[in-house]
């Protein structure tokens, strides 16, 4: 079986400073991977490079997605092929209505895949369903993208998009930060509902608590731009008890 995502010995620089120093990670369809690690260890950098954010220079290694060279693709091409990043800090886009944005994005992805565009009624029905399951009020959808949303609402809006676009690789960068207990459970339920044999998740988090809701198959510890330890879900519990100090030297 072909891996969904293969990151091999990835080296990345930002403004002449190397942030990732030979990072490797393999994700197969159906798996849930958790990535943990101290602030500044490069977790968001990895997620940005996978999504195709400009400003990062890949100086070594490669990323394959469904066997194809991901680094050769534009960000929108990656999205259409099934890469989705729920951002740690979703941006506000004043003047772009959420509904219009969602429809434009969904149809752009479908068009790129050679699928037919959604009709307005079908689209509305789908958004309403998903919004309801995530407890997102219609009023939020009428506003500009993320404009005036609370931190938690922004995160829920990311999960909404994920549910709508049905990607095959979901990268969730600290989706639990800023969520209250109830919102966390609802968002985690939303993520779990998307778990499927041909979809994989990479969950970046600082807290073991999230992993009680979204139970991972693998846990990786990142430190100073590398994966320094991998294990099963118990590794997260271990980290919770002992912290990252033990890995600081390993990197």
């Amino acid at each position: 079986m072909m891996s969904l995502l293969e990151v091999k010995d990835l080296q990345v620089r930002v403004e002449d400073r190397e942030i990732l120093h030979g990072l490797s990670l393999t994700v197969n369809p159906g798996e849930v991977h958790a990535i943990m690690g101290p602030n500044g260890s490069g977790k968001s950098t990895l997620s940005h490079v996978i999504a195709g954010k400009p400003g990062y220079e890949v100086t070594g290694g490669e990323i394959l997605f469904k066997g194809e060279d991901l680094l050769e693709m534009a960000p929108d091409e990656r999205a259409a092929k099934g890469v989705f990043l729920a951002f740690q800090y979703p941006v506000e886009i004043p003047g772009v209505a959420t509904m219009n944005f969602l429809r434009t994005a969904l149809n752009a992805q479908r068009k790129a895949r050679g699928e037919s565009e959604y009709s307005t009624p079908d689209f509305l029905k789908k958004v309403r369903e998903v919004a309801k399951s995530l407890n997102i009020p219609q009023d939020m959808l009428r506003r500009g993208v993320n404009v005036g949303f609370s931190g938690g609402e922004k995160k829920r809006n990311e999960i909404l998009q994920m549910a709508l676009f049905e990607p095959s690789l979901c990268i969730l960068d600290e989706m639990d930060s800023g969520l209250d207990i109830d919102a966390l459970r609802i968002a985690a339920d939303g993520v779990n509902a998307l778990r499927s044999p041909d979809r994989a998740m990479v969950v970046i988090t600082h807290y073991q608590r999230l992993l009680n809701y979204i139970v991972p198959d693998f846990v990786h510890v990142m430190s100073r731009g590398k994966v320094v330890k991998s294990g099963g879900k118990d590794l997260a519990l271990e980290l919770e008890a002992s912290g990252y100090a033990q890995f600081e030297d390993a990197a």
Binding site: G52, K53, P54, D76, R78, F87, G95, N100, T104, F165
Partner: protein
């Protein structure tokens, strides 16, 4: 007939185009005399150039080079051609008034069954047989501005609209300027809109070209007088062909407790200038002027506004958004004067420019001259590129670079377009913006 109207830098001989065209221009006696004086004023100045403060960003000698000869009156073929063009620019629910190559076209216009209190005549008719008061109002422009002087000398036709006191019209009026451009030529028009007391109307103006129109110059001017307690909503869309020039002027006066809401969008014409003087003559009045430029290629578009707060207790808002791609050049000059008596004036001006390429340019010249002490006045300006982090967010969601840009550009100009009150007209402006965005994709 190929007459050069301006003294150019190269010292080309000036033929007296005015003499040549005179027989085709309406009005005799006093009117002819005023035309002659205006032409003299123009002739002394020639096309404005960058050494004139008011024109420093828009050097018409360099951009236009010369004034083309007067366009021939449209023949049957031109009218037919115009009729086809008109079909693409009809706006639902409006009363159309059409000018073809600068000549009022009654057959293409809807002048039957006018509402009570509404009067519509052609400029030609009014100059040939109108009352003296209307005629003098048509000459209200200050001919020290060379392009106004030229327009005053050469104005051939236009529409003269009067809305009587107490008449509030629900149906907007749509003045469509169509250039058929069978030969490169200049069009000179002047229109007038007068609202009595307690009146209301919506006026839309479109400038469009028939397919295959040659390089042409549209020289237009508009006199607006808004009576006490009256309201005018005004939308102006410049969609001239890419080779055309559009030089337009407006003078607007407001009575007391009057309201003027105006929106202008320029996406067409290679060179354009819109210069408007708005004067408050009565207290308690309000003006909102909103503008959008959508430019690419080598387009040059200049909006020059003069807001004259001559009386107390009036408010003005100017919101301007410029989008410039390629080597386009957008100019906004906004001058606000608050005269000594104009206490409690509330005047604000905000301009923002979005540059889509390194070679695009946006100039912004705000000028506030405040001679009263109890006022609230302010202006602000920003110039920048599209926000990379917003672009990336959209692209990460599957939008192509152009699609992501389009969405952000629409949002950028949206704030100005939102100011249009009438739903159909707002949609018209949005559709025009989308046409521009799709053409660049």
């Amino acid at each position: 007939m190929n007459v050069v109207l301006a003294k150019t830098e190269t010292g080309r001989a000036l033929s007296d185009a005015f003499i040549v065209a005179r027989d085709r221009l309406p009005g005799t006696g006093q009117i002819l005399e005023q035309r002659r004086q205006a032409f003299d004023a123009y002739e002394r100045a020639g096309l404005p150039h960058r050494r004139l403060e008011d024109w420093k960003y828009t050097d018409l000698r360099a951009l236009m080079r010369e004034v083309l000869p007067l366009a021939p009156a449209p023949d049957a073929a031109a009218l037919k051609h115009a009729e086809k063009t008109l079909k693409q620019h009809k706006v639902r629910g409006t009363r159309r008034l059409v000018l073809v190559d600068g000549v009022f076209a009654p057959k293409l216009s809807e002048t039957a069954d006018l509402e009570k209190g509404l009067s519509i005549r052609s400029l030609r008719e009014v100059l040939e047989a109108g009352n003296a008061e209307l005629q003098s109002q048509l000459f209200a422009f200050d001919v020290s501005n060379p392009m106004v002087a030229l327009n005053t000398a050469m104005m051939t036709d236009g529409v003269v609209i009067e809305v009587a006191a107490g008449t509030v019209m629900s149906q907007p009026l749509h003045v469509v300027h169509i250039a058929t451009g069978s030969v490169p030529a200049a069009i000179f028009t002047r229109s007038l809109l007068r609202l009595g007391k307690d009146a209301g109307v919506t006026l839309v103006e479109s400038y469009v070209a028939a397919d295959g129109a040659k390089a042409y110059q549209a020289h237009d001017s508009l006199v607006i007088a808004i009576g006490d307690n009256s309201r005018l909503d005004h939308v102006r869309l410049v969609e001239d062909s890419a080779e055309a020039a559009n030089i337009s002027s407006a003078v607007v006066t407001l009575g007391a407790h009057a309201h003027f809401n105006t929106f202008g969008m320029t996406s067409g014409a290679s060179v354009s200038r819109y210069q408007a003087n708005i004067a408050f003559a009565g207290e308690g009045s309000r003006v909102e002027t909103n503008g959008v430029n959508l430019l690419n290629g080598k387009q040059h578009a200049d909006t020059t506004l003069f807001m004259d707060h001559a009386v107390p207790n009036c408010a003005s808002r100017e919101v301007f958004r410029a989008v410039a791609d390629d080597r386009a050049h957008s100019v906004f000059q906004g001058r606000i004067i608050v005269r000594p008596d104009a206490q409690k004036t509330d005047a604000k001006m905000m301009t923002r420019a979005l540059l889509l390429s390194d070679e695009a340019e946006a100039d912004n010249k705000p000028e506030l001259e405040i001679f009263a002490d109890d006022v609230t006045c302010g202006h602000g300006a920003t110039t920048g590129a599209l926000d990379e982090s917003l672009l990336f967010y959209l692209r990460a969601r599957g939008l192509s670079e152009k699609e992501a840009q389009s969405l952000l550009i629409q949002a950028f100009v949206g704030e100005a377009i939102e100011s249009i009150v009438n739903d159909d007209l707002r949609e018209l402006a949005v559709a025009s913006a989308i046409r521009w965005l799709e053409a660049r994709a």
